[in-house]
């Protein structure tokens, strides 16, 4: 019931926010037709929803299906709206909330360029080893590391590289899938 009369003095939609924001990973299965990404992204901006991370690629070439993984931060009420609004888009097949399902594996890949010589170069290499990062390019004064894992691991690795000569980082955004035998 909508009877929680709050003493906010607010009006219309300016009600006091009583729900905490949550970070959720959504998987959106779409027809890969021209403009579909613009529809999804445009929906988020037009309705004031957040996008923390966005990953998109065609996954079934014969059927022209793409899978979009989007990480968003919102209250449960807004999250429900995000899902319903996404489902309203004509080329959207399915929207799946992996965080709500609670059993997803999430991975992200980052390429991290670090430049330096001497002790910091050795330390960078040692840390890369600890993080199971691969060296995919090297010169006498630089490395490019490829590191894969949860976003938190990438964050941590990048933070450690910062004082060791971090030049730049590129991240793929999150890819996520449910555990177990069932598809979405």
């Amino acid at each position: 019931m909508n009877a929680n009369l709050l003493p906010t003095g607010s009006a219309y939609f300016l009600t006091q926010q009583t729900q905490a924001e949550e970070r959720h990973t959504l998987t959106v299965l779409v027809d890969n037709e021209p403009g579909v990404l613009a529809r999804v992204v445009g929906l988020f901006s037009a309705r004031g929803f957040n996008i923390d991370s966005l990953t998109v690629s065609e996954i079934e070439h014969d059927k022209h299906r793409s899978r979009i993984t989007v990480v968003t931060v919102a209250t449960p009420k807004v999250l429900a709206q995000i899902k319903l609004q996404l489902e309203r888009l004509v080329p959207v097949h399915k929207v799946h909330d992996l965080t709500e399902a609670g059993n997803a594996v999430e991975r992200e890949l980052a390429l991290v360029k670090v430049a330096g010589v001497g002790e910091s170069r050795i330390e960078a290499l040692r840390l890369a080893d600890a993080f199971r990062a691969q060296v995919i390019d090297a010169t006498t004064e630089s490395f490019v590391f490829e590191v894969t894992g949860k976003s938190t691991k990438i964050e941590q690795f990048v933070a450690l590289m910062a004082p060791l000569g971090l030049v730049e980082v590129v991240r793929t955004g999150l890819a996520a899938i449910t555990r177990g035998p069932d598809g979405m």
Binding site: A3, N4, T8, S10, A11, A38, G42, R88, P91
Partner: protein, 586 residues
């Protein structure tokens, strides 16, 4: 083997196969092949407008008064951008439209060619769906799919952008499917039976129930209006409606509370506030309806029937959500109610009706009439009395006159009331009236207008004359953008910044200049005969009704207030009512 034809011929053929009889459009370089195909046939009648915005509103009026899909044809670039207002209007009011736009040839797309614009980019957020057709092979499927998407589920506008080379290309035409379907777009028609049973259980126990109905009933078709009447009779519950739903339930019924919301009646809003069960049928808890949402109907359980799942729990959290076509859900409600009882809850809700009677006693639509100057409310009442026994359709512009029309013109049938609710588009009424008149050539079609709004699309008078469409434009002329002026009185200390309609044209001469008939009336004693004159002239009429200038549209739920804190008529000094927080709201 499928029939071979050009893309332009496919467009015309597909429209005919979809049962389209009239389209509203304006030619230009990028749609010339389609206009050539139109020239070479006589099944499809094209109405040449004077501005593309007019075409979209005409198609909206046509669609809303017939239940059919409205069709618009415009050229690339400015043709498409001029159509954007009408497309957005149709999106917010859930009106089925198919808008075909020409585009520069595919090879030129992206080159900033003459009259090029990114039509699908611009219209993505103001359509239900849109297409850029890059290949002739896709064209027939897209044409039919567009009609399916526009008219099914929650209706809305669909744009098909067709580059000129695709219009010239030869391809195989494919007709419409007998049972249209789509791989990803699947509107849900049947409501969940457990939810409907739970809803009826609540209805059977309710002591202070109210039906809150909306435009969804109109969109669901005439049968939905019949079922609403049956459901109301069966239950004995009071009925109120949004602006968009007027006519679905007869205003002549004892169970009718009048419109609700910002300018709704006291009894409707108080019933919404004090009810213990709200049954929302095809409405969406718009901010004009709810007022302050954290004080919205605090003591009620809420049932929400909507075909669009995203409308549920969007602004107001409800107890029993039912996603489905409102007509089929009402049919089930009626069936289940009948399986339990054949009696309305007359006795159980008698105290509720008593409370409603006391609110009715406030006479919230009352106003102080005058015998020296025409009061706008009085003008609408006289217009209603003069036309109520005729086959009459009403459109409006946006503002005070629109609200007065909603309050004082009474509708007993659906599809008779065309107004811009969600977007609030000034300039909607005249072209919408023309669209209605195209669909109903023998009916009396009246645009209840304001002198400011009507000038936004006044050029469509020329369209009305060209096609012999005798629409009546009944202008409540108070020489102000009345609603703007009212809000300036409410919120800005009566500083009427740019809300005075200066340098007005002589509307009588203007009507004559277009080849129509002009009438001016400022004397209450002459009003009835002037209205009769308007009704009896078989050509477009501009009626310049000079009304009292600073009349406020009341009652009103001021910004930031709940339903039970309305400003009632004859309130002195409305400028002191709204607090600082309310002033930031629209």
């Amino acid at each position: 083997m499928a029939e071979q034809m050009t893309g332009a011929e496919m467009v015309v053929r597909a429209l005919i196969d979809q049962g389209v009889e009239h389209i509203f459009g304006y030619p230009g370089g990028a749609v010339l092949p389609i206009y050539d195909a139109i020239f070479q046939q006589d099944q499809l009648q094209h109405i040449l407008v004077r501005h593309e915005q007019g075409a979209t509103h005409m198609a909206e009026g046509y669609a809303r008064s017939t239940g059919k899909c409205g069709v618009v044809l415009v050229t690339s670039g400015p043709g498409a951008t001029n159509a954007v207002t009408g497309l957005t209007d149709a999106l917010l009011d859930s009106i089925p439209l198919v808008c075909i736009t020409g585009q520069v040839p595919t090879a030129l797309i992206g080159s900033d060619a003459f009259q090029e614009c990114d039509t699908v980019g611009i219209t993505r957020s103001c359509t239900k769906h849109n297409y850029l057709v890059k290949s002739i092979e896709d064209l027939p499927r897209i044409l039919h799919e567009a009609f399916y998407i526009a008219t099914s589920g929650r209706p809305g506008p669909v744009v098909i952008d067709i580059p000129k080379d695709v219009q010239f290309a030869l391809g195989a035409y494919v007709g419409p499917q007998s049972q249209p379907s789509h791989p990803t777009y699947k509107p849900q028609h049947e409501g969940n039976m457990d939810a409907i049973r739970a809803a009826v259980d609540l209805m059977l126990r309710a002591e202070r129930p109210v039906f809150y109905t909306g435009g969804g009933i109109i969109n669901s078709g005439p049968e939905a209006s019949r079922n609403l009447r049956e459901l109301a009779e069966l239950t004995g519950f009071p009925v109120t409606s949004t602006l968009m739903g007027l006519g679905a339930f007869p205003a002549s019924s004892d169970q009718w509370l009048g419109m609700l919301g910002m300018h709704g009646t006291y009894e409707a809003n108080m019933a919404m506030h004090d009810c213990d069960l709200m049954i929302c049928l095809g409405a969406r808890f718009d901010d004009r309806i709810t007022g302050r949402i954290d004080a919205f109907s605090p003591g009620s359980r809420k049932i929400h029937v909507d075909i669009d799942p995203s409308s549920i729990n969007k602004t107001i959290v409800v107890d029993v959500p039912i996603v489905g076509d409102v007509n089929s859900v009402m049919e089930e409600m009626i069936r289940i109610w009948r399986s339990r009882t054949n009696q309305p809850r007359t006795e159980a809700i008698a105290p509720w009706w008593k409370a409603i009677a006391s609110w009715r006693g406030v006479n919230s639509l009352g106003f102080t009439n005058s015998d020296t100057i025409i009061k706008p409310q009085h003008a609408i009442q006289r217009l209603y009395e003069a036309t109520k026994d005729r086959d009459v359709y009403i459109t409006t512009e946006v503002g005070q006159h629109q609200m007065w029309a909603a309050q004082h013109f009474h509708f007993n049938e659906p599809n008779r009331w065309m107004t811009s609710g969600g977007l609030g588009t000034m300039g909607y009424g005249l072209p919408a009236a023309i669209g209605v008149q195209v669909a109903h050539p023998d009916a009396l079609v009246i645009d209840i207008a304001g002198e400011a709004s009507v000038q936004m699309t006044m050029q469509e008078m020329s369209t009305a004359l060209q096609y012999g469409l005798p629409v009546k434009i009944f202008i409540l002329n108070n020489e102000y953008m009345g609603m703007v002026r009212q809000w300036q009185e409410l919120l800005h200390g009566g500083r009427y910044s740019h809300s005075y309609s200066d340098a007005l044209p002589d509307f009588v001469k203007l009507a004559q200049a277009y080849g129509g008939h002009g009438i001016r009336c400022s004397d209450p004693a002459q009003l009835d005969s002037a209205i009769d004159e308007m009704i009896n002239i078989n050509k477009p009429v501009i009626f310049d009704c000079l009304v009292s200038k600073e009349e406020n549209c009341l009652p009103m739920i001021p910004s930031g207030k709940p339903h039970n804190e309305m400003i009632l008529p004859n309130t002195a000094d409305i400028g002191s009512i709204i607090d600082e927080k309310g002033k930031v709201l629209v």
